[in-house]
């Protein structure tokens, strides 16, 4: 019995490790976001430009007829853009805003379209705030909590404040890319099933805007 117990004890972390593992991304998005402000300093909405990885782009373009092979015009991509805009609703557009700690909601997207460059699709759309709001501190998270999509804010100029009141400061906190936790891997975390790090923060892009 003791031997069997010891064997089971050895197996447990393996089982735990194997089952706690979450989904991994199938889609990669490189994002550029603009925060849109009204002249009175209220935030009216967020404008995203999401560039999909080439595999998903190819998949999304499957079956779309074009006049010229390999060239997709905005008009030809319009039905697909509409599908995207509609199906993203289910996921709250992966955009979660908090104004001074209070959750803010968004309307359905407007001004959406797709363009195609270098084998990659980019979805442009604007999310109007349900009620435009002012905030001393705005926190905007862009991520997929199921991690089917991996969001990375673009390397260059990822967040722009458009018409923000003077003195507003933006800070972007990027997600850990998993390599950090790979380095942290050692015998001990393996044996304990690795129950220490915070998984959620691994893939959230946190945009914080502090205004005077």
């Amino acid at each position: 019995v003791a031997l069997a117990l010891r064997r089971l004890a050895l197996l447990l972390p393996l089982l735990l490790g194997a089952t706690v593992a979450q989904a991994h991304p199938h889609v990669w998005i490189s994002a550029v976001s603009e925060l849109l402000y009204a002249p009175d300093g209220t935030l009216t909405g967020v404008r995203h430009a999401w560039t999909f990885d080439d595999m998903f782009s190819t998949y999304a373009l499957q079956g779309i007829e074009t006049r010229q092979k390999g060239v997709y015009t905005r008009e030809e991509l319009a039905p697909l853009a509409q599908t995207n805009a509609e199906s993203l609703k289910e996921f709250a557009y992966f955009t979660f805003a908090k104004a001074d700690g209070t959750k803010q909601r968004f309307e359905d997207p407007v001004d959406y379209f797709l363009d195609y460059n270098n084998s990659q699709l980019t979805l442009h759309f604007t999310l109007p705030a349900k009620t435009p709001f002012k905030a001393k501190q705005l926190v905007l998270d862009v991520f997929d909590r199921t991690y089917f999509i991996d969001f990375q804010m673009a390397d260059k100029d990822p967040v722009r404040l458009v018409g923000a009141p003077e003195g507003c400061k933006m800070q972007l906190q990027r997600p850990n890319d998993g390599s950090a936790s790979a380095q942290a891997l050692n015998e001990q975390t393996f044996a304990s099933g690795g129950a220490n790090a915070n998984f959620g923060m691994m893939f959230a892009n946190k945009i914080t805007v502090d205004c005077p």
Partner: protein, 351 residues
């Protein structure tokens, strides 16, 4: 009910925990990430190093697949790299919270199945998954040239059918195992009044730890306590058992993996459909190895539980019927949970 000595009781509990961790862990993780709709507080599941590492490997392999398919267009030898990556990806991918291995493991535990059969079922369901993925893309994208939207609509329909089948399959198991469990309960209650001869013989069997699949006459029958609603374990493991096993394969294997669909469509667009198909099957092989490993562990854990509880009068049989009933219930819960969206499975590729 016969009282178990503390150590043995503890050990039995431990074996039970090991047994259900596979399923339970997956449920908890899945529950934590559903439903999708609406903004929710930031998720804080406490998982880390090893899992993070797993995720990182998976992502790497998956991302390399598209690059390798592109490379294979000009350099044929890149196909070997593609197959190697796909194989590794399959192994890591199946370690995720997929419902497949949970259903198969629970099924094996609910029935008196052998590890060997667990392996066969794991490989058969992975093979079927690959076949369905290839069929969906071959018919949808290659033959009919439908849009991604139509294809993911088909994916969703298959998904719902799959979850429904799991629920039905689970309900059937619950019906069968519930009957056996109730019979065992009744037998247990009558225990003290009965002569002990048959039981002593039984104890003897257990202490020697023989394979019970072939001669494991149950207390249910020994005690003549009326009719068990389900077939005895040795009947289940018999030839008819394969048909039931096939049902398990069908329920799990009918839903293709989203990753495979993406890879196939991408390969098709690159004019290398055959490479995508090969990659899908190799991926399935990797998946099968992981699922089979987990299935074997589940069977082994049940075996340990049986040995630990086996020496007891009546109580042992009751515990085993209880475990089987529990596992059957889990299959049903899984099916219903997936069907009604309480459990998040891997998403379809609809965006």
């Amino acid at each position: 009910m016969t009282r178990l000595p503390p150590l043995r009781a503890l050990a039995t509990c431990f074996a039970l925990i090991a047994l259900f961790v596979t399923v339970d862990g997956a449920i908890h993780v899945a529950m934590a990430q559903t439903p999708f709709g609406g903004p929710r507080p930031a998720p804080e599941p406490q998982v880390g190093g090893f899992v993070g590492w797993l995720l990182a490997r998976q992502s790497e392999f998956y991302r390399e697949i598209s690059a390798t398919i592109r490379a294979a267009k000009s350099d044929g030898s890149a196909v070997w790299t593609l197959l190697a990556i796909s194989f590794a990806y399959g192994i890591f991918h199946a370690a995720g919270p997929g419902h497949g291995k949970a259903v198969i493991s629970s099924y094996l535990v609910a029935n008196q199945e052998t590890a060997w059969r667990g392996i066969v079922l794991s490989f058969a369901s992975a093979l079927m998954q690959a076949l369905v993925a290839v069929a969906v893309v071959a018919v949808g994208a290659w033959l009919l040239n439908v849009t991604a939207k139509t294809m993911c609509g088909a994916e969703k329909a298959i998904e719902i059918a799959s979850y429904g089948l799991i629920a039905i399959f689970g309900a059937r198991l619950v019906w069968t195992k519930g009957g056996a469990f109730i019979s065992a309960l009744q037998a247990d209650r009558r225990q003290p009044a009965l002569a002990a001869a048959a039981h002593q013989h039984h104890d003897h069997d257990h202490y020697h730890g023989h394979d019970h699949d072939h001669h494991g006459h149950d207390h249910v029958h020994d005690a003549h306590c009326g009719h068990s609603h389900g077939p005895a374990p040795d009947e289940l493991a018999g030839p008819g058992g394969w048909r039931r096993g096939l049902a398990a394969v069908l329920t799990v294997g009918i839903r293709p993996c989203s990753g495979a669909i993406l890879v196939l469509v991408f390969a098709l667009a690159q004019g290398l459909f055959w490479a995508g198909i090969a990659a899908t099957f190799v991926m399935g092989l990797g998946t099968a190895i992981t699922v089979a490993t987990i299935a074997v562990v589940a069977v082994f854990a049940k075996d340990v539980a049986r040995r630990l509880s086996g020496g007891r009068d009546g109580g042992g049989a009751l515990i085993m019927r209880g475990i089987e009933f529990g596992a059957a219930g889990l299959v049903l819960l899984f099916g219903a949970g997936l069907l009604f969206g309480y459990i998040a499975a891997e998403r379809t590729t609809c965006l």
